[in-house]
Symmetry: C2
Subunit: 351 residues, 2 copies
């Protein structure tokens, strides 16, 4: 049957962080697409809209008026999925009907006072301020909550209902599924191999280079070997760092820089404000602050849905939901494409 | 804090089939929605379109001409993610970079010669013919392949690129993630409790009734206790049945009937052709036909995205991708809503 080429021949790849597999069928990108087209994001978002509850000076759902903030701005989510207290469910009467208590808080963080900006269009000091605010929230909420999930849904395609640049922070009294899974796999890797999984992985990718997108003295971004979304990336520190709040000043500066470079490339890929969900994973907090968490390595996942153009996305549906994720180009092809893109934002090129 | 009520108070529920949890925050359905609106499905699909490659007599991408089929019609997917032979990847040189061979076949099955029909609008004998064709394919492909995934993506929202009523069948040389997971959890349940998990679960739900949607002599449909999608359902036989091909004639008739009743309710919920991904899970095949698979119970999952109306869906994004699925109404509320809907299709009411 000839020599194996990943870009031609289907195969499966193992994801050691989630202990599962992805089906890579890169030949499939050749098929024509006659399905749903996505609406490109609006280009005419007003910089300030008194009716937008995320804007400085606007009134929120609960009647509160936002301050005239000039940097980042954190406030409680007016429709929180997690609240600090709720009566606890009764003990389960059957092993197939198990409920457990859940407590927490949900916050929203605006990145900037202007609604017509996104992270890739913000300056380095402005991005650095976001990182500082993340680290502060991680410390503050992590003092008591075991898990503080910082995440950004960018773009209407990713369920984001407000164009103002913002992210969310949901802190919970429990370890969510993904946290539990990554805790187990990383713990096992350290005990088997004597080195944290993602520290070793970053070192390997720094040498192998074929999945590298951008790198600097403290960080690297790769399309992981086991990526499921077409242009999914993993942002990793080079040093062993357990949590966001453990980053040094210069690591935060370099983080702002590498985020900016990655996000500009993302926007340049299809010359559109690139939709994604992203979020941070690090060692658990609250009671876990007292425990040995050396198996953990801080990282951010970027999960962007676009596949072929600004309007054609990858659908993770039937086979993916019922069997296994499947991808239509190799991680190496995606990395090469991203690597080759300019680091000047397409909207700033004319300037 | 008062007495616990699932519809008012957030909590987490355990999914014994996937060994994970879902966050239930039913109070959140009260929040207003200002995000993306979905396009309702087209109402003007022509019954026959010679340019649609799924129609009788049409020419497909590979140049072949479809027969003038009158019932179901199965043909090879012209852009298959899985092919019967491909060179195998080299042995992995590092535990974090593991690839493995994948072989298989992908087929498409048209349910009916008309493009303007969907399953809920088809007659019982027509639905029964689909079930027979499923069982045949499961037998045929299951003779050699360990896993035969039958699935339907219905609606453009679910990545379906052709309105003609059809499903897909992807058979693989490996057990996909979901199959592996359900194999483990069901195996453990049988060994711990002496009864197949989903057989016990169906018996429990038949007594408890609050999550029942429809039932008949052989089958029941419930919104599972651990549902993640708003109106997700689980279709279960009452008898212990390992695989689709093990169903008796009368069980297949009753399956046609319960599918029709469920799908009519689904369409009636928002008076729109209800989008979903659905698929069958049963004991693995190929080499597993020789093994003890009594821990398995045949079942179908329905994963529909709509939440509030024909145009407002649930987004499984940031928190869901990075932490844990979250739902905005309880499974009991969803079941009650579905139960209360008429069993006559809204398009046929005028007749
Ligand atoms: O039906 P299609 O066009 O082959 O493809 C659809 O279903 C496949 C299997 O779930 C997915 O991989 C695709 O992303 C989706 O668009
Ligand atoms: O940003 P929102 O409107 O709170 O909500 C969005 O993100 C949440 C967390 O990922 C999801 O549960 C919602 O489905 C999505 O629409």
């Amino acid at each position: 049957a000839g020599r194996f080429r990943a870009s031609e021949h289907q195969h499966v790849r193992y994801n050691p962080l989630r202990d599962d597999w992805v089906l890579v069928s890169a030949h499939r990108v050749k098929r024509p697409w006659q399905g749903q087209l996505e609406k490109p994001p609006p280009e005419d978002v007003p910089r300030w809209d008194p009716k937008n509850p995320l804007c400085p000076g606007a009134t929120r759902a609960n009647g509160e008026v936002n301050p005239n903030y000039e940097g980042t701005f954190v406030f409680p989510n007016d429709f929180p999925a997690l609240q600090p207290d709720a009566p606890e469910p009764d003990d389960s009467d059957h092993p197939l009907f198990r409920a457990a208590p859940a407590r927490g808080v949900c916050k929203v963080m605006c990145f900037h006072p202007w609604s017509d900006l996104t992270l890739p269009l913000m300056s380095l000091p402005e991005i650095r301020a976001v990182i500082d605010a993340w680290a502060e929230l991680a410390t503050e909420l992590g003092a008591s909550y075991p898990w503080v999930q910082i995440f950004e849904n960018k773009g209407a395609m990713m369920g984001c209902s407000n164009p103002h640049p913002h992210c969310q922070v949901w802190a919970s009294s429990f370890l969510p599924n993904e946290a539990r899974l990554e805790d187990q796999t990383q713990r096992q890797h350290l005990s088997q191999h004597g080195v944290p999984m993602l520290l070793e992985y970053a070192e390997q990718e720094a040498c192998r280079k074929e999945r590298l997108v951008v790198e600097n003295a403290d960080w690297l971004v790769v399309v992981p070997y086991w990526a499921t979304w077409p242009y999914q990336t993993l942002l990793l520190p080079r040093r062993h760092v357990c949590r966001l709040q453990d980053l040094s000043d210069s690591e935060k500066d370099n983080l702002a820089s590498i985020m900016q470079r990655l996000l500009i490339k993302y926007d340049n890929l299809f010359e559109v404000s690139f939709p994604y969900s992203m979020g941070w994973h690090g060692a658990p907090t609250g009671p876990y602050l007292q425990e040995d968490c050396r198996h953990w390595q801080l990282h951010a996942h970027y999960y962007p849905p676009l596949l072929r153009s600004a309007t054609v996305r990858k659908f993770m549906v039937g086979y993916e939901m019922l069997a296994q994720a499947q991808r239509d180009l190799t991680p190496e092809q995606a990395a090469e494409r991203l690597r080759s893109l300019p680091e000047v934002h397409y909207k700033k090129r004319a300037e």
